[in-house]
């Protein structure tokens, strides 16, 4: 026999306005094992919690039931309260009589009261069997892996390394820098991107905590938060990893491989930051603009390359067809973006700003040139961004034509862009020496495959999915894997850097724990009953199930299990059980209700 205390919350009038609380108290006091029952206006308030603590001590309670709101709201609150009074926190239960009773049955007060009584009765039956549980403590490898050596990856790696933890930075290309290295002057001040980026790269390369692997790819990931095991293949053209202090302990070199096959490294890491960046939508898919057909129709990054002093043209803006300096350039925004029917549905976010920047730089270098921009809307959301675009219009006389260009065709070496100026409602045609398509920003090729390897979800286009669109924007849905930069969604440099630092902060938060703590209310296998049928293994959505190495029974990986209960449903002989939600508890709850 347990000594159970029941605490019924009024939640102001949320519960007490519908449910007859005195009658509830009167009824539940009659339940066997219930030695104390009381109501209070707000159980979650300090005096409410104190009431619980006082009675745990005074009445020697060994289980507590709070009849109140959803456990999603305050389960943790009341478990902490119970714990602080010396009770095992898993002996505290919630009976949800607000969302499941008073709120949904406001018109039927009598029935709502009865339902509340029955709900509490079932939880009393469950509490009878509740065990005192202790959270699991799991080891934690305090080393980070950053995938992608662009500005997002560089920033994340630096922030983690600065805090004193070793980082492995894996970059697919032969050099660090990513897309930022392909850019020229940056908005808003038109500074060269090479200087700030060069500083970051240098800081990363020289940091003793950072181990850089260029020309490398993550080919396999196993394990779970705090204990990932990562395989990285490094192409043979390169030398070994750039050495750092982290190397000696981190790297287990495979036996010498033949020179033509990649070298494989294995790392144990505790957290992963995905910073794989973006590609531009293939301009050849934009046939109406002559993408890929006309040499003088190029994309935004090709134009950036011409602006760069170290680019293929030595910083000169020229037509690819004949090397002449173009006098008239037309930019076409939303080329492949905001087109759910034919191309990509999303707004690529950076194009409005970089087109204004490119047009400004063009006018600075060719002052008598004409810059025309076809756009649907101008989205200049950022500090100083609107002013920057306005400056392009006012000071550099960039002509903005509101309307999506419909067609580009080329005759005698000159392009003509057709569109409609929607501000006047008239068709317009603009002649151009060069047409720049601000093509959509899409995930890097291979993002989908990487997502599969890491068990991290991506959306239908390959952008990595964040755990919550508003409140958890830097976490993936997979514990221990974080997101930074355009791999998650198009974003510009300041936003990328902010997200990268956010992801690093999340990694550091994880690393600041001494050990990983895992809720104990997860599945376990009763080895006496398990027949080793293996049905639970494919049923687990978290890959937490496997067969024991030599005993013919199923096992649970406590770090991966989320306690969803899928395995307990599929297990034919009920060898799989959730702690504190065992079959006997479910059955006795049903019995109490019927």
């Amino acid at each position: 026999m347990k000594r159970i205390g029941v605490f019924v919350c009024h939640c102001g009038t949320n519960i007490a306005g519908t449910i007859d609380v005195p009658r509830v108290i009167e009824e539940i006091a009659k339940f066997p094992e219930v030695v104390y029952a009381v109501d209070y206006k707000y159980m979650c308030s300090d005096p409410g919690q104190q009431l619980i603590r006082d009675h745990i001590a005074a009445d020697g309670l060994d289980a507590v039931i709070v009849a109140a709101c959803s456990p999603a709201m305050h389960e943790t609150t009341f478990r902490r309260a119970a714990e602080s009074a010396g009770l095992n926190p898993y002996q505290a239960e919630i009976a949800n009589i607000r969302e499941q009773s008073s709120w949904v049955h406001q018109q039927e007060q009598e029935a709502a009261t009865n339902k509340a009584i029955e709900t509490i009765r079932t939880i009393v039956a469950k509490a009878h069997y509740n065990e005192s549980l202790i959270p699991f403590h799991l080891p934690l490898v305090k080393r980070g892996l950053v995938i992608g050596g662009g500005i997002a990856g560089l920033q994340a790696a630096l922030d983690i390394a600065q805090a004193g933890y070793p980082v492995v930075l894996v970059e697919k290309a032969d050099q660090l820098g990513g897309r930022m290295a392909e850019l020229s002057g940056l908005y808003l001040n038109l500074d060269s991107s090479a200087d700030p980026l060069g500083k970051k790269i240098e800081a990363v390369k020289s940091h003793p905590n950072i181990q850089v692997l260029t020309g490398s790819e993550v080919v396999g990931v196993g394990g779970y938060v705090g204990n990932f095991s990562v395989q990285v293949d490094k192409s043979p053209a390169d030398e070994g990893p750039v050495s750092g202090e982290a190397q000696s302990s981190a790297v287990k070199r495979s036996p010498p491989a033949p020179s033509f096959s990649p070298q494989r490294f294995t790392f144990d890491v505790g957290a992963i930051v995905i910073a794989t960046g973006y590609d531009l939508y293939d301009k050849r898919k934009l046939g109406e603009y002559g993408g890929g057909r006309y040499p003088d129709v190029i994309d935004g990054l090709q134009f950036e390359a011409m602006l760069r002093p170290d680019g293929p043209t030595g910083g000169r803006i020229v037509r690819p067809s004949d090397g002449r300096v173009p006098k008239e350039i037309v930019w076409v925004q939303c080329a492949g973006s905001r087109d759910p029917e034919l191309h990509m549905p999303h707004c690529s976010k950076v194009c409005c700003m970089y087109v204004a920047k490119q047009a400004t730089l063009f006018k600075q270098r060719v002052p008598d040139g004409q810059a025309t921009v076809f756009y649907i809307d101008i989205r200049s959301q950022g500090k100083g961004y609107e002013e920057f675009v306005q400056r392009a219009m006012e000071e550099y006389d960039v002509l903005y034509v509101r309307g999506k260009a419909s067609k580009v065709f080329q005759e005698n070496g000159r392009a003509t862009v057709w569109g409609v100026d929607t501000l006047t409602g008239l068709p317009i045609e603009v002649e151009a020496d060069l047409v720049v398509l601000a093509t959509a920003t899409v995930p890097r090729a291979g993002a989908m495959e990487l997502g599969q390897r890491l068990h991290v979800s991506v959306d239908e286009h390959g952008f990595f999915s964040e755990a919550h669109p508003k409140l958890r924007p830097v976490e993936s849905l997979t514990a221990g894997v974080f997101l930074a930069g355009a791999a998650q969604f198009p974003k510009d440099i300041p936003e990328t850097v902010a997200q990268a630092s956010g992801a690093a902060a999340k990694v550091l938060g994880l690393f600041s724990q001494r050990q990983m703590v895992q809720e104990p209310t997860i599945a376990f296998v009763d080895a006496e009953i398990c027949s080793g049928c293996g049905l639970c293994i494919p049923s687990c959505p978290y890959d937490a199930r496997s067969m024991h190495e030599w005993r013919h029974i199923a096992t649970v990986n406590t770090a991966l299990c989320q306690g969803c209960g899928a395995c307990t449903m599929i297990c034919p002989n009920k060898a799989c059980k959730l702690r504190n939600l065992a079959p006997i508890q479910v059955l006795s709850m049903m019995e109490a209700y019927l």
């Binding site: 306005q390 006012e394 006047t424």
Partner: protein
């Protein structure tokens, strides 16, 4: 409204901007000017569209338009513009270009009224309503309109039969010749 496509004329924006002293490129088409314009109901293009045509270099349609002549210069647009553009000044500049380029005005009567007004000032140094109206009616060949109002004004002494020339009429003439020399 003409439906032909716009083929931008180079240099037009610069010419109008210089003549009107307005930064027409700054317009981002919030349409406040057009919303508040008391004459917009009669115009073929709204003030914002006029600014747009200037930006686009759509010169021919603009110079033939009625809008540039129907603006009464009340400055409601300019006082409300978030980008400090005085559309009235732009209208004036466009009228000047219209005359300089010998484009037939889109509203001939308004043009005649302006002409008669300026002639009256030139001759007398000040406005003389009767002679101005006579000139206007001859130029516009619209002899009967508003005669009853004219008669009433004459009866209450608002229209003087004889003009009075001011003393400094020579200086006024000089102003005109300076304008003509430009």
């Amino acid at each position: 409204m003409s439906q032909q496509s716009i083929v931008p004329e180079e240099g037009f924006l610069e010419r109008v901007s210089a003549l009107s002293h307005q930064n027409i490129s700054a317009c981002y088409f919030c349409l406040r000017c057009s919303a508040g314009c008391p004459s917009a109901f009669a115009m073929d293009f709204s003030p914002a569209q006029v600014l747009r045509f200037v930006q686009l270099g759509h010169k021919d349609a603009l110079l033939r338009s009625s809008a540039i002549w129907l603006c009464i210069g009340c400055e409601t647009c300019g006082s409300r513009c978030p980008n400090q553009i005085h559309a009235g000044a732009v209208m004036d500049a466009l009228r000047q270009i219209c005359i300089a380029d010998r484009v037939p005005p889109g509203e001939p009567k308004v043009f005649r009224l302006h002409q008669s007004f300026l002639d009256s000032i030139k001759w007398w140094g000040r406005l003389h309503e009767l002679s101005m109206l006579v000139e206007y009616k001859l130029l516009s060949r619209d002899l009967i309109a508003d005669l009853d109002m004219g008669a009433k004004m004459f009866l209450v002494g608002k229209i003087h039969p004889l003009p009075k020339r001011i003393r400094g009429v020579k200086e006024v003439e000089r102003l005109y010749s300076k304008q003509g020399a430009r």
